[in-house]
Each structure stands twice: as structure tokens, then as C-alpha cells.
């Protein structure tokens, strides 16, 4: 048999079919070409129809826009408004205005109601659509109205002024005029325009149209375009094309079709040739591989399938698979042997007679021949393990320290039992671990805490172990809980948050300790101290959770009791402080009345006895107020509400004023009060002057109180410390002293040295507590050292800030050129004077009595090298020769008369100042000597100018004051006469007191009882009688002072009053009150009880401020 070559075989099979396809496709192409030409012609017609419709619409749009522009013409708008003048220009405009250069078009102007104002000639001769049709749309809504019909195109255009319709322009274009324009649009086509009412607007003459569309379309002369709608003009447009104009010819497509057939033939031949070549390549590769295998018996030979067709590739891979199977079978036996020997466990394979057939390396191979299982496991043959049955399949063999566990398994080959496989494994370590686990389990059972272990590897986290204590604490038996999820102890009172923490910790595998409410089996709740730790294995993953539980019911109960006790104690403390504070307020309010009324009483005409009684009452009331202030301060301290001010103040002046005030007390008791302020190197500082004064006042008053004779020495120094000042001070007295065992209790509240002290000296025992607390709040402390009967020394310190305006006081006169003599029998006093004068650089000479002073003067006169003294400062009280006597002697000596004399007196000296002047004294000031007095006096005297000459008699403290600032009486005058003050307080006594004070100063006062009345008063006043200032109580019924102030500031009492000064007046002297007042918008703050001088000064300062601001 002969075979055809592959290429010839395929060609003969394919060619006939290809020829058939070839012929059919040629015919189809001829047919399609002819259809295509006709379709193109029709679609071109549709396109032209659309374009025509758009052109017509644009044409009408252009007409409408022209009318719009007429409507926007300012002449037209103006004509609507210019009633009288429009006849001059409107007719002319309407006659001349044109659309597309045609003026033979009807144009009319109507007003807002549709009434005709004017129109051109054509408008008067033609009929326009009735106004009902368009008036509401055009004249009310301001929208254009357009209508197209056989009468032509009508456009009603609103005339807008500020967007509102005020009239309209009406335009009508006759159909004949319209047709002239439409004829030029798409003139190359046969066109038809019909309105919605089947009215013909335009028709090309070629159509010979008689108004019957159906007749036109019934003939087959025409191909028509789609109907195009021109919506905005209610119009439809069409184009017609004569059928004979479309010529069909296939000639254009013939060469293209022939050429494509030739290309088709060539490509078929090429495909067959390439296919055969490829096929040949693959078949050859397959046959080569088979040949190679047969010849060389090489099992690795494979067929290359790359790039072959699927069928051939499948043949190739089947061949390759067959080869791989063959290769595998030959290697299996070797592999089994290798696996057996690489096992850790012992493996023995026996036949059914238990003769060893195969064993791994651990069993000696040489012994394999004829070895029985009994020999291998070292057992008698009769042992049940060594029998050919499944009775006993396990046996533990002990060899040396090892324990081998043998297991026997039937060997089944092809469904039949054909022998045994025996495996032996070393279980020594497992046995050891079991023993240890037993010990641990016993330990756990004997532990007093409950222990619980949970398996973390399972999703349900079941309990796998609980100890005995767990069952005792919870009441559950081990059986009941094993396998449960461990949250079964939780119940209704278990804290949700604690639960959350627990599950979070377990989720994150972190240790956690919580106290949690759990439930015993009997339903009883108990507090559980639960600690959970994750158990982590070698791979760092959590296998178990270990929980330790402890019943802490008793601990929790104790803790709760403690908490309740603490809270009640704290509440009691707060209540006490609040009680004290409230009491103080309650007392202050009536005190205000008492002190105020007494003040007023004293200003009236009284007989001497009444005056004396009133004064005593006033003084008692003041003492009571001091006491109340102490208690209030103390309650603030107790309540932790002590606040400090931070203001710039002149420390020297403050100390001077303090000294003057306190000196009365000392001199009343015949005590020497010595102030050493030479260490105060800065005058301006920043801090709370009131509190500084309070500290000094308390300490010095105490010292005076407990000292019956001798001196009280006060020393103050400023020390620089980290950019601030530390004030160090000591108050030393020669009083009764304090026993050593009481010193420690001195700073405790309500404590005095003993009860008898209280009886003898009075006082609350709060002063020192307050002082200590103030020092501590200001960053310092206080200490006391004392000797019973000898006196006490209080040393204290605290911090204040630098003031920006701080400066050293230096005399403007060069005091360093002065020679000063100081005469005093008190050494401390001499020391203080000398220190201060030396700071200023003066040459100081001291004398301890009059005799010595005179002697020194004489010596100076005798020796011409030493200059005579410029100034001598003399003490008043001295033994043998007092200051007056010494002064007289000096002045009587002609050579010494040039020395200017300064007298130092105690405050109780009521002698005749004029007498001192007569003797020749230049100045006098009270002890203790204050820096500013001394400094000012030296200046005035050393200058020897007008200031000295102007002093009526002597230079005194008061005189020095008058040189620097106006006295209060001048300030009073500065209150303008038309000043009106609104006084707001619900307490009639307070109103009376304040009113009384104000009337003394001739101030016009109006009273209001609450905030509402105040607002009404302020709002009801004219500018001429406007209020200058408001004094406002804080707590009032109806509307309190805070709310009233807020409303005044917001303008509720008139714009003129929004900035009026408002001074708060309140008994609320507690912390935060001032802030509250200022926050509410008040200008200043005045604590009750009202003190006349403070009150009037405050008013003066705000009124003069106001006065200046007005200017």
C-alpha cells in the first residue's frame, strides 16, 4: 500500500470546500454593495432635514432677539416712567425702529395693565392676539410670549425695570414678510413647514403643495425626510427628494471584489503549506524518542512537546508518563529499606510464625536470620506477647535505665494476615514526667487558693483542671466544672467593665489581676481576687491559662467600711468650713449696719457722754470685725480657698504706714517699738500687700500684747533669691515668753499657751495659725524661740516678686555730705538709725544721752578740722536730760545754733508742737523712725529752701505727705457737684448707711431695691440727669447684682449706661467673689461693712477717672 505525502492528502481534502465558499461570498458582496448606495442617499436626506429644522429655528430666534433688544432699550423703559415727556420721542422711535431692516412690522408699547401707550402705523392697522392670551405670562411673570400661525409671528416682550415687569413691547411680523426670509433657507431642497394646526407656514414651489400632506406622501415620486419638530415655535419641518435622482450602480465595487477574491485564494494555499510543515516537525520528534528508547533501553528518554498541537502533545505526554512509571517501580524497594533504618523507633517485621523477616538497624542484622520475636524482646516463647494472636499486643521491656514499650500489629498484605509488625519505643522520659505531674497535682490540691487551668488551644476554652480549694470556695465539684467555660462563676452583680478587662486580657494573652464579684454554686455572691496568667510553650503560643482565685469577702467589707468612714469625715470637715464661712457672712452684714450707723452717729451733734459711748461702741464693733475677719481667714485656710493678690506696691511706704498704725498700741503700753527696715533695699515690690501687713500686724500686735515693759524690735530684710525677693523678718519682744513644751502647739488652731492666757489676754488663738499659713502659701515659714519670762523671737520668711517699677530710694540731695548727730539712750534705736543713714552715705556720730551729745559738739567746735553737724536727731525721752532740754541748750549756743534739729517722739506725745518750733526744732516725727519720714525730713532740711520755709511750724509727717499728694479733703472737692449715684441694695439699713455717707459729700443719691428697679431707674433717665456711677449689692431678690450688671453692660438700661462704673458692695468676702464681680462686668469691689473713708475714696477714684475720661 502506498501512502500520499501529508501535504497532498490535505490539499485534496480542503480545496473543493474552499471553492464553494468562494463563490457564495462573491455573490453576497455584489448584493450588499447595491443596497448600501440607496441607504446612504436616504440618510443624507435625514441629515439635511435636521439641519433645515435648526436653521429655521435659528432664523426665528434671531427675530425674537431683535424684539428683546427693543424691549431693553432705555428709551422704552424711560417712556414708561416719563409720563409727560414721552410724546416727544416715543412715536418717532416706534415708527423708525426696524427688525432685520424692515420697518413695515407692527410694534406696540403697552403699560403694566396691558393698556396701549403707543404703536406704529402697522400696529394700528393690524389685528394682534387678544391680551388675555399673553398678559398674565408677560405682565405678571415677566416672561416672553411667542406665537406663530398663518397671521405671522407674534412676540410679546416684557419691559423689566429692576427685574420687575412694568410694561411690554408687542411685535407682529406678517406671514408674507416671514416667507421672504424663509425662502432663503436651504433653497436647494424641497421644503415644507407646517404648524401644529396643520397650517402651512412655508412650502417650496416644486412640491406643488395644495395643503394636503397625505396626498403629497401618497405618490411614490418622493423620498421624504423624517418630520423634524421645532418645539419652541410649534412647527414641523420636512424635506422631500425626487426618487429618480437616486441612481444605483455596482460598478464602483467590482474591482474591489475581484481583488479581494484573488487575495483569498493566495491565503488559503499559504495556510495549507504552513500547517503541513508544522505537523511534520512534531510527528518526527515523537518517532525519534520512541526509537531512542527501543535502541538504548534508557528510561530517561522523553518526547519534546513544546509548540505541538494539543492532540500530538497528548500522545507525547502519554508516552512520557509510561516511561516515568517504569522508572518509579524499580526504585521503591531500596527506598523502603532506607526509611526503615532511618526511623528512631525499633521496627521488626515477622511472619505468622513470629520469625523475624525484617528489622531496622537497631536490631542486629546478622541476627535476623532465624531470630524469633521472643529473642528480640527477651521473653520466653510462651509469653502471650510472643504468640501468634492479638491477645496481648503491648509489652514494656526494661533494659538498664530505659523502658521500651513494644506494640504488636498484624501485617495484612492483599487482604490476608501474613505476619506481624512490632514497634518498640523508648518511654523513659514520659514515665518520668508522669511522676512529676502527680507530685504537682498533689501540691495544687493542698494549696489554700483555688487553682484553675483552662485549655487555650480550644475555641471554647474549657476548664481542664481545678484543685480542691477551688471546689471548696465555689461549692462545685470537679466533675461539674471540667469542660465548662470558666466564666460560669459570673452573675448579675459582676462588674461589666471588669468582665471586659478580663476577656481583653485573655484575648491578648496577657496576665491580669482583678477583684470580681462571683457566685458560688448555692447562689451566694463572693468577692474573688482572681489572677490569670497565660502558659506559654516553646513556640511562644499560649496553650493554657492558669487562674488563681482567692475569696476576699472579708477584705472588701473592711475596705468599704473604711471608705464610708473617710467620706463622712471629709463631709464633716467641709460642712464645718462652710458653716464658719456662712456664719462670718451673716455676722458681717449686720456689722456693716452697726459700724456704719455708729460712724454716722458720731458725725452728728452729740454731747460728750454720748460721743464717748458711741466711740466705745465703735471701737468694740471694730474689734469684733477684726475677730470675724480672723475667723473668716481661718475658715478660708481650712477650706483651702486662700487666694493671694499680685499687685505692685511700695513696701517702704506700707511699712511706714504700718509702723505709724501699730506704734499707738506700743506707746499706749509705754513700750519702745523699733523698726529696722534698713535691709529693705527696694521700695517697689509685687505681691499681696494686705497679707504682708496681716502677718506683721498679727506678730507685732501679739508681741505688744504679751509684753508689759521693754521693747518690741522688728527687723525686715530683702534677700535676692532666684529672681524674686525673700523677705526675712523677726519680731523680738521682752514679754512673758512661752514655756518650751507649749512652743510646738503655738501654731495650732484655737490654741493659746494655756487657758489662763486666754482669760488674761483675750484673742481667738487663730492669729498665729493664719500667719503661719500665709507664710507657707507665700513660700516661706515661721519659727519661734522663746525663754519663759525673757521674751520670744518670731522669725519668719516668705517670697514676693520683683516689681517692674522697683528702684532703690536715693535722696535727691547728696546726703553723703551731711554730718548727722544722733542722740538716743536706746542702743537698738541708735543702731537702726545709724544703719539707715549710712546707707545713704551720711557721716553719722552717735551719742547715748544729752551730756555726751553736748560734749561731742564742743569737741567739734574746738577742732577746726572737723566740720560741725548739719543735723542732729534727738530722742524725746532720755534719762537726766530729755530731748527738749537738749534742743534748747543747742539752740541757745550761738555757735551750735546752725545745727538743724529733728525731734523723735512717741505717738502719745501730745505736747505743744509750737513749743518745739519756738525752741528751734525744724522737724519732728514719731517713732519708730520710718525710712520715708527720715529721708524726706533730711531732704527738706538739707535743702533749706521753700519747702522748709513753707512748713507752718515744723516739718512733720503730715506736712511731708502734703508736699507729695493732695489731702483727702481736696479729693472730696473733686467729686463734681452734678454727680448722681444709683445705690442698689435690698437691705434698708445698708441703704441708709451708704446714703448717709454720700449725702455728707453732697452727692445726689437714688436708691433701688433690686436689679430690676435699678435697670428701670437707669433706662428712665435723660442725658441731662444721667447717673455717674452705680453701687450694687450682689445678693438681692428678683434680680441679683450679677445679672443686673450683665444686663446694664448689654444695653438693657440704655446705650448711655453700658459703660457706667459699677462698684460691687457685698458681704460675700469669700474667695472668688471678686472674680465673680469682675466677670459679671463690675468695675470695682468693696467689701461690707462699708467704711466711710474707703467708700468715698473709691467713689472719688472712679468719678475723677470718669471725669478725666470725659475731658
Amino acid at each position: 500500500m502506498t501512502f500520499r505525502p501529508l501535504w497532498l492528502y490535505l490539499t485534496l481534502k480542503v480545496i473543493p470546500l474552499a471553492l464553494v465558499i468562494f463563490v457564495i461570498s462573491s455573490l453576497a458582496q455584489f448584493f450588499m454593495a447595491s443596497q448600501l448606495e440607496s441607504t446612504i442617499a436616504v440618510s443624507r436626506l435625514q441629515q439635511d432635514g435636521k439641519v433645515y429644522a435648526q436653521s429655521v429655528e435659528h432664523h426665528f430666534d434671531a427675530l425674537v432677539r431683535q424684539v428683546e433688544s427693543i424691549g431693553k432699550n432705555s428709551i422704552i423703559t424711560n417712556a414708561l416712567i416719563d409720563f409727560q415727556g414721552r410724546q416727544n420721542y416715543l412715536p418717532l422711535y416706534l415708527e423708525s425702529v426696524g427688525i432685520f431692516d424692515r420697518t413695515d412690522i407692527a410694534i406696540q408699547l403697552v403699560d403694566f395693565s396691558g393698556e396701549v401707550i403707543d404703536g406704529n402705523y402697522y400696529a394700528k392697522t393690524s389685528t394682534l392676539p387678544a391680551s388675555e392670551l399673553w398678559a398674565s405670562q408677560v405682565l405678571e411673570e415677566g416672561l416672553q410670549w411667542v406665537k406663530l400661525d398663518q397671521n405671522g409671528l407674534f412676540i410679546a416682550q416684557p419691559i423689566l425695570n429692576q427685574g420687575l415687569p412694568e410694561g411690554a413691547i408687542l411685535v407682529n411680523i406678517d406671514l408674507n414678510i416671514l416667507k421672504l426670509g424663509l425662502d432663503n433657507i436651504h433653497s436647494g431642497f424641497n421644503r415644507l413647514l407646517v404648524s401644529d394646526n396643520e397650517e402651512v407656514i412655508f412650502a417650496s414651489s416644486a412640491l406643488n403643495y395644495k395643503g394636503d400632506t397625505a396626498a403629497l406622501e401618497g405618490t411614490d415620486l418622493w423620498i421624504k425626510s423624517n418630520v423634524e419638530t421645532i418645539g419652541s415655535y410649534n412647527l414641523t419641518a420636512k424635506i422631500y427628494l425626487a426618487k429618480e435622482d437616486i441612481a444605483i450602480s455596482g460598478s464602483l465595487f467590482l474591482p474591489i471584489i475581484t481583488l479581494s477574491l484573488i487575495l483569498f485564494s493566495i491565503s488559503i494555499s499559504l495556510i495549507i503549506f504552513l500547517g503541513v510543515t508544522q505537523l511534520k516537525r512534531v510527528v518526527s520528534s515523537l518517532s525519534l524518542a520512541i526509537e531512542k528508547t527501543i535502541l538504548s533501553k534508557d528510561l530517561t528518554a522523553r518526547v519534546e512537546n513544546e509548540g505541538s498541537p494539543r492532540e500530538l502533545a497528548k500522545l507525547g505526554s502519554q508516552f512520557n508518563q509510561m516511561m516515568s512509571q517504569l522508572q518509579k517501580t524499580t526504585s521503591t524497594l531500596d527506598e523502603i529499606d532506607a526509611i526503615l533504618h532511618s526511623m528512631r523507633e525499633l521496627v521488626v517485621v515477622c511472619d505468622s510464625h513470629l520469625q523475624v523477616l525484617l528489622s531496622n538497624k537497631i536490631v542486629n542484622k546478622s541476627e535476623t536470620q532465624n531470630t524469633t520475636l521472643a529473642q528480640v524482646v527477651d521473653l520466653p516463647t510462651s509469653h502471650s506477647f510472643c504468640q501468634n494472636n492479638s491477645e496481648n499486643i503491648e509489652y514494656e521491656q526494661k533494659i538498664n535505665n530505659k523502658i521500651i514499650l513494644w506494640r504488636k500489629t498484624q501485617l495484612i498484605l492483599q487482604g490476608e494476615v501474613s505476619g506481624w509488625v512490632i514497634t518498640g519505643s523508648d518511654i523513659s522520659d514520659i514515665k518520668q514526667a508522669q511522676r512529676q505531674a502527680n507530685i504537682l497535682s498533689m501540691a495544687m490540691d493542698s494549696a489554700s487558693n483555688g487553682i484553675i487551668i483552662v485549655d487555650a488551644s480550644e475555641a471554647s476554652e474549657p476548664i481542664v483542671f481545678v484543685n480542691k480549694s477551688f471546689t471548696e470556695i465555689t461549692g462545685y465539684t470537679e466533675k461539674e466544672v471540667l469542660g465548662l467555660r470558666c466564666n460560669f462563676l459570673q452573675g448579675p452583680k459582676t462588674n461589666r467593665e471588669t468582665r471586659g478587662r478580663l476577656s481583653q486580657a485573655i484575648k491578648n494573652c496577657q496576665p491580669i489581676e482583678v477583684e470580681i464579684a462571683n457566685y458560688r454554686k448555692n447562689g451566694e455572691m463572693f468577692w474573688n481576687h482572681l489572677a490569670i496568667d497565660p502558659v506559654i510553650d516553646d513556640t511562644n503560643s499560649v496553650t493554657h491559662f492558669l487562674g488563681v482565685i482567692r475569696d476576699i469577702n472579708s477584705v472588701v467589707a473592711a475596705r468599704n467600711d473604711l471608705k464610708i468612714a473617710k467620706e463622712s469625715a471629709e463631709a464633716a470637715a467641709v460642712a464645718k468650713s462652710e458653716f464658719l464661712a456662712t456664719m462670718s457672712h451673716e455676722i458681717r452684714t449686720p456689722m456693716n449696719g452697726v459700724i456704719g450707723m455708729l460712724g454716722l452717729l458720731l458725725n452728728t451733734e452729740l454731747n460728750p457722754e454720748q460721743t464717748s459711748r458711741a466711740r466705745i461702741a465703735q471701737s468694740s464693733a471694730n474689734s469684733l470685725l477684726v475677730l470675724i475677719n480672723d475667723i473668716l481667714d481661718f475658715s478660708k485656710i481650712e477650706a483651702g480657698k486662700l487666694d493671694l493678690e499680685s499687685i505692685d506696691f511700695n513696701l517702704r511706704n506700707m511699712l511706714g504706714e504700718f509702723a505709724e498704725g501699730i506704734a499707738y498700741q506700743a506707746h499706749d503700753k509705754g513700750l519702745e517699738l523699733i523698726m529696722d527696715v534698713s535691709g529693705i533695699t527696694a521700695s517697689m515690690v509685687r505681691g499681696d500687700p494686705g497679707r504682708v501687713r496681716q502677718i506683721l500686724n498679727n506678730l507685732v500686735s501679739n508681741a505688744i500684747k504679751f509684753t508689759s515693759h521693754g521693747e518690741v524690735f522688728v527687723q525686715l530684710r530683702l534677700i535676692e533669691e532666684d529672681g524674686r525677693w525673700r523677705i526675712k523678718g523677726q519680731v523680738k519682744d521682752s514679754g512673758i515668753g512661752i514655756p518650751q513644751d507649749k512652743v510646738n502647739h503655738l501654731f495650732e488652731a484655737f490654741t493659746q499657751v494655756d487657758a489662763s492666757t486666754t482669760r488674761r489676754y483675750g484673742g481667738t488663738g487663730l492669729g498665729l495659725v493664719i500667719v503661719r499659713r500665709l507664710c507657707q502659701v507665700m513660700g516661706g515659714d515661721i519659727h519661734v524661740s522663746s525663754k519663759l519670762g525673757k521674751g520670744s523671737t518670731f522669725e519668719f520668711d516668705f517670697l514676693i516678686d520683683h516689681s517692674n517699677s522697683s528702684q532703690l530710694v536715693r535722696p535727691s540731695i547728696d546726703i553723703s555730705k551731711l554730718n548727722v548727730l544722733i542722740v538716743d539712750d536706746n542702743e537698738t534705736n541708735l543702731y537702726v538709725l545709724r544703719s539707715q543713714l549710712k546707707i545713704w552715705g551720711a557721716n553719722v556720730t552717735e551719742a547715748c544721752d544729752g551730756q555726751q551729745a553736748l560734749l561731742i559738739c564742743q569737741q567739734r567746735l574746738d577742732s577746726p578740722d572737723t566740720p560741725l553737724f548739719d543735723i542732729a536727731i534727738l530722742d524725746m525721752q532720755m534719762p537726766n536730760m530729755d530731748g527738749i532740754e537738749l534742743g534748747r541748750l543747742i539752740k541757745n549756743n550761738e555757735k551750735l545754733a546752725s545745727i538743724k534739729l529733728v525731734m523723735m517722739t512717741s505717738m502719745t506725745y501730745q505736747g505743744d508742737i509750737e513749743q518745739l518750733a519756738k525752741i528751734g526744732f525744724s522737724a519732728y516725727f514719731p517713732k519708730p523712725a520710718t525710712t520715708s519720714d527720715l529721708y524726706d525730713a533730711l531732704n527738706v532740711m538739707a535743702e533749706d529752701g521753700i519747702a522748709l520755709a513753707s512748713a507752718k511750724t515744723l516739718v512733720t509727717g503730715e506736712y511731708l505727705d502734703s508736699l507729695q499728694q493732695p489731702t483727702h479733703s481736696e479729693q472730696e472737692i473733686s467729686i463734681p457737684s452734678n454727680t448722681r449715684i444709683l445705690l442698689v441694695d435690698d437691705n434698708p439699713i445698708n441703704l441708709l448707711v451708704a446714703e448717709g455717707i454720700l449725702e455728707d459729700f453732697d452727692i445726689n443719691v437714688t436708691c433701688a431695691c433690686n436689679g430690676k428697679e435699678a435697670l428701670a431707674c437707669l433706662a428712665g433717665n435723660d442725658q441731662d440727669e444721667a447717673f455717674s456711677l452705680v453701687v450694687m449689692d450682689c445678693q438681692m431678690p428678683e434680680m441679683d447684682g450679677f445679672e443686673a450688671t450683665r444686663q446694664i453692660r448689654a444695653g438693657s438700661a440704655g446705650i448711655q449706661n453700658t459703660e457706667i462704673p459699677i462698684i460691687a458692695m457685698t458681704a460675700n468676702a469669700m474667695q472668688g467673689d471678686r472674680d465673680k464681680c469682675i466677670a459679671a462686668g463690675m468695675t470695682d469691689y468693696l467689701a461690707k461693712p462699708i467704711v466711710a473713708q474707703q467708700f468715698i475714696e473709691k467713689l472719688a477714684s472712679w468719678l475723677s477717672f470718669r471725669l478725666n475720661a470725659d475731658k
Partner: protein, 383 residues
Amino acid sequence: MNRLIFTFSLWLLAYGACAAPWVIGLDADLSSVSKAGGIAISQGAELAITEINAKGGILGQQVALVTKDHRGNPARGIANIKSLSKNPKLLGVIGGVHTPVALAELALIHEKSIIYLDPWAAGTPVIRNGYQPNFAFRLSVRDEWAAGTILSKAKNEGCPSVTLFLEQTGWGRSNEKSMTKASIALDLPIKGIEWFHWNSKILHKLITKTVNDGTQCIALVANTPEGTQIINAVANVDKSKRPKVFSHWGIVGGDFTQKVKLAQLVKVDLYFLNTLTFHTPKTTMGTLLKKSFEKKFGTQPAHEAFNGVAHAYDLVHLLALAIEQAGSADSAKVRSALETLGTYKGAMKTYKKPFTADQHEALDASDYIMLKFNKQGFSEISK
């Protein structure tokens, strides 16, 4: 219309059981070019009527304000007067800002014998209208006299001559006459006159043209829309050539200061006529009016049309006085009573004799002042 319903429903609430109240009509532009002026007038009338009603009304009956919006369109104004005249309780009609509307309405007003109170429109012929008896009364500026105030300010500011910018309406024409007269009296030549239409779009070109012709000062008679364009155009002129503008008050009838940007406004030396400013009341009554105005309508930093409030307020009070004096609402009797009223302390001034038979003008040139905008865009008196 809403306002009308609102006013009536208020009245129904208060006096539902009583006889129909007196009606004072308000016919003004409340929504178009000069609505600020129209609203000011209605507020002034409302304040006066509230006061009158609180004191027991007129002839023992309460008074209601019925407002009609003519939008500056004379045809609407005539229709409004027709509608108001049908009410038998009509006491009189208060007009609005626009002179052209007032002029167009005069025939109908006299045909129906309606008291017509003019609180703003300044056209001279509104009052000098040739009707006998004359039912129109004005408490406002009169162009004839305003021209003197405006041009003498121009002279004081050193103008060598002025170019007039006038709107092409009865108001513009009324000013053409009075300005021409005043220019002769003051010896301040008129350099030229530019007429313009409402809604004109070529105003900036007119300004450029006149500036190029060497104009240094402009006397302006325009309402807010055209005034806005002109002031903007003047502000855009180079500083060295920028003319000063002396304007009649029509420019502030609308929201002028809101329409001209402050930056533009401060560039122009603009002086304009008025009778008062919001912040400097002329009398105690004026101060009280300002207070009650702010109480009712809220405090404001400025109010450029406050003259409308004060004029309408005084006019309504004068009308009420005249009716009480006549003892009847018959318009002929009220007209005579208005002509014979005695001294009245008003918010604008103290009127010795507000009107007489020969003189239906309550104000005269001595009441006119020239204002200027300060840096904040608020008007203040120009000294």
C-alpha cells in the same frame, strides 16, 4: 399686597368689634429702584400712626396704614390712587420718592379731591401744579430751591462751572429749570447738560466725554441705579481729572452705599442734598423719633434714608392735627385746616405755620443741608 393683608389683620385683631378704621394710604416704590426710601416713609408713617392710635386715634377712631407699591411706574401709581380712592374712610395719601409718579397722579388726585402728602418727591410742579384748590402738600425738598443749595455748595468748593447730569423725566426737567435759574443767581456758569434715560448703559461714556471736555464739577439729578453707575464712572476717572459731584438726594433713595463699593465711594468728592442725618437729630422730637425708631426697627449704624422717616412722621402728625382741627375728615375741610395750622414741634423742625393757603411747602431752603460720606460710608454733614 402682603403688607396690606398684614396691616388689616392687625387691625382686625385689635378692633374687630369696632367700626372700620380711618385709612391713610401710602403709594410709594416699596420694591424697586427706591425701595429704601419707600420703606423709610412707611416706617415713619407707621410710627406716627402708632402714637396717634395710642392717644385714641383721630376723631375717636383708630387709624390704619394701607400701603401700595408703585415700583416707580406712574401707570401703577395712577392705578393705586384709583384703588385707594374707593375707600370711603380714606384720610389722605402719602406719596413716595418719585416725582414722575406724583406728577402723573395729580390729575386723578384733584379729580377725586384727595389730600396728597408728599414726604420726598422734590419736583417743583408737584406742588406748583396749577390746580385750584390745590390738594398736594409737601414736607420735603423743592427742586426750585434745592438747586440753590446744591450749586452754592459747588461754588463754595471752588467750582468754576458745572455740568448738569439730568434724568430724562419730569423730575430732571424740573431741575433743569431750577438749576439754570440758580446758576444765573450765583454767577456759576453751566458748562453743559447731559440727559440720560432710566436703565441707560452709556453713562460711563457720558462721564468720559464730559471729563475730556474739561468738566471739573458735576451737578447730578438721578435715582440710585443711574447714580451708582455715574459715581462708579467718576471714581474710575484719573485722580488729577476726577470731577467733584454735587448731587440731588435721589441717589440715596435706594441702597446706594451698598451698591457702590466703599473703596470707590471714598475716592469721589461727593456732596449730596438732604434735610437731616440719622445721627444728628435737629430737635428733641427728632431725638425721640430716633429712639422709638430704633426700639421698633432695631439699632443701626447708619440710615441714609432717614429723612423719609422724619418727613412722613411729621406729615402724618400734621394731617391728624388738621383733621382734629377741622372736626371732620371731609377733604375740603381738612385741606383748609392744613393751611391754617398753628405752631407744631416736629421731628424735623418747629413749624411756625406748617402750611398756608399760598404755601404748601412745610420746609424751605434754610432746612436743606449738604452731606458727605465719611470713611465708613456713613453720611455726615459737610460744613
